[in-house]
Amino acid sequence: MEVAFYLSGLVAVLATLGVVVSVNPVHALLYLIVSLIGVAMVFFALGAPFAGALEIIVYAGAIMVLFVFVVMMLNLGEAVVDQERAWLKPGIWRGPAVLAALLLVILAVTLWRGDIGMVIAGETLTAKAVGMTLFGPWLLVVELGAMLLLAALVTASHVGRLSTPRQTPGRDASTKEGA
């Protein structure tokens, strides 16, 4: 299983690199999907098939479809490819590359010294502890946040709906708002 872990990890990293360097948005999205599937495979190899399946269903199967959908709707052409190519000049890479390299050094040093559990102060927060706090003392805030999101959803659907069609004598004027 270790071979599968390292191979899919490698695929995920390379695919993510592909997302950054591809000039065609749809190809970049394809790389991102491959990267997500790679991460899901890593979860499978680690013995967390549930997380892996959810990764594919939620991210690759639903969210990325919407991304691809929107990019296709925008009908991006050669102009965008040229723009991307211009953005990917080596000069622009320099700043982010230095900063990312710094993070990589920190990561490597931490892994090398083997003190992953060490933090500045306090204990390491687990997902369970976060969940207990969110749905314990802070339940009211969570529910209020949920209501806010619902209100945003209703507003978006109200703003985005088609304007009321003029009453035409057509046979199915009443079904227009269902579109």
Binding site: V26, I37, F50, G61, V65, V68, M72, G178, A179
Partner: protein, 326 residues
């Protein structure tokens, strides 16, 4: 023969089973193309293909020969990578789903704990076949077909998952074998009738079968997302649709109709009979129903099916808690 240990033998048998199931699924999909045309003819009071071989049984061979020898043309304005990739995704994601389906107590490819989720994941991947196929063709009809297909599939996948959660709650597992075993006494179609109805509708919509074949509507889109495809690339989309039909039928049998359970006859016969029944149902639906308008399909999904599955799930949960409170 020192290497022929029981482990090797078990691995060999498992591989053989997987191969037989794979070939069986593809062949059944291919055969369904002809069976469907004959059945459509029968139900619509006409002949259907009856010229090649006795009763038209060799029509499949003729079709295969024809499609293999057609020119495999990629339009110069197409995005080559995605154009070639799309039919492969269409076929592969559906075939991979057969991994989780237990056919008989002894037959099946893998016994995954997340069986049902694996199918949902593969159904999610399957959307890209249509999306990429439509977009990479560089054709407006294809693009409109792909748009419709992805919007329809996304909408129907939402409540397809929800429709199955009632079954999962009753069986207490995502594992398909355990779901089948939980139906030893009575089939889940009885307590989960609404789950079955919505899953059937969602299954038809996700495989783009009539009456949900908006994406490829011949009259308005001239075949939608696979308009630019020819030869075996089109063949893979085409056979893929029938493989999807077989898959959804097998899933319905596994999840709602007790899988291989049944009196007298051996398990494999029961499974085949039940699956065959639902394949016939698919064909009968195509023979009898007109195609609804696109916006009606969408509003039916969101306004009728989604609330129905939610209520079904709520009631199922409540009943399970009432019957066996823990």
């Amino acid at each position: 023969m020192s290497w022929w240990t029981p482990t090797v033998e078990a691995a060999f048998i498992a591989m053989l089973q997987a191969l037989v199931i794979l070939l069986g699924a593809v062949l059944l999909g291919a055969v369904m193309t002809v069976v469907e045309r004959r059945l459509l003819g029968l139900w619509q009071d006409r002949y259907g293909p009856n010229r090649v071989g006795p009763f038209g049984t060799l029509q499949l061979v003729a079709d295969m020969l024809k499609i293999f020898f057609k020119e495999d043309w990629i339009p110069p304005f197409a995005d080559r990578t995605l154009f070639v990739l799309a039919p492969a995704i269409a076929m592969a994601s559906l075939l991979l789903s057969f991994i989780v389906i237990p056919i008989t107590p002894g037959w099946g490819v893998a016994d995954l704990h997340i069986g049902l989720l694996f199918f949902l994941a593969m159904a999610g991947i399957n959307v890209y076949a249509v999306l990429f196929g439509g977009w990479s063709s560089g054709n407006k009809y294809a693009l409109i077909g792909a748009m419709r297909a992805s919007a329809q599939t996304l909408s129907y996948e939402v409540f397809m998952g929800l429709a199955l959660m009632g079954v999962v709650a009753m069986a207490g597992s995502f594992n398909m074998r355990e779901i089948v075993n939980a139906q030893e006494g009575f089939w889940f179609v009885i307590p989960q009738f609404f789950g079955f109805c919505t899953f059937l509708i969602a299954g038809i919509a996700v495989t783009h079968r009539h009456p949900f074949d908006q994406p490829e509507a011949e009259q308005e889109l001239a075949d939608g997302y696979h308009i630019e495809y020819s030869s075996m690339k089109f063949g893979m989309f085409f056979i893929g649709e029938y493989v999807g039909m077989v898959l959804v039928s097998a899933l319905i049998v596994t999840l709602f109709f007790g899988g291989w359970h049944g009196p007298l006859l051996p398990p494999i016969v029961w499974f085949a009979l039940k699956t065959g029944f639902f394949l016939m149902l698919f064909v009968l639906l195509r023979a009898s129903l007109p195609r609804p308008r696109y916006d009606r399909v969408m509003s039916f999904g969101w306004k009728v099916c989604l609330p129905l599955t939610l209520v079904n799930l709520l009631v199922t949960g409540a009943v399970i808690l009432l019957v066996s409170p823990q």
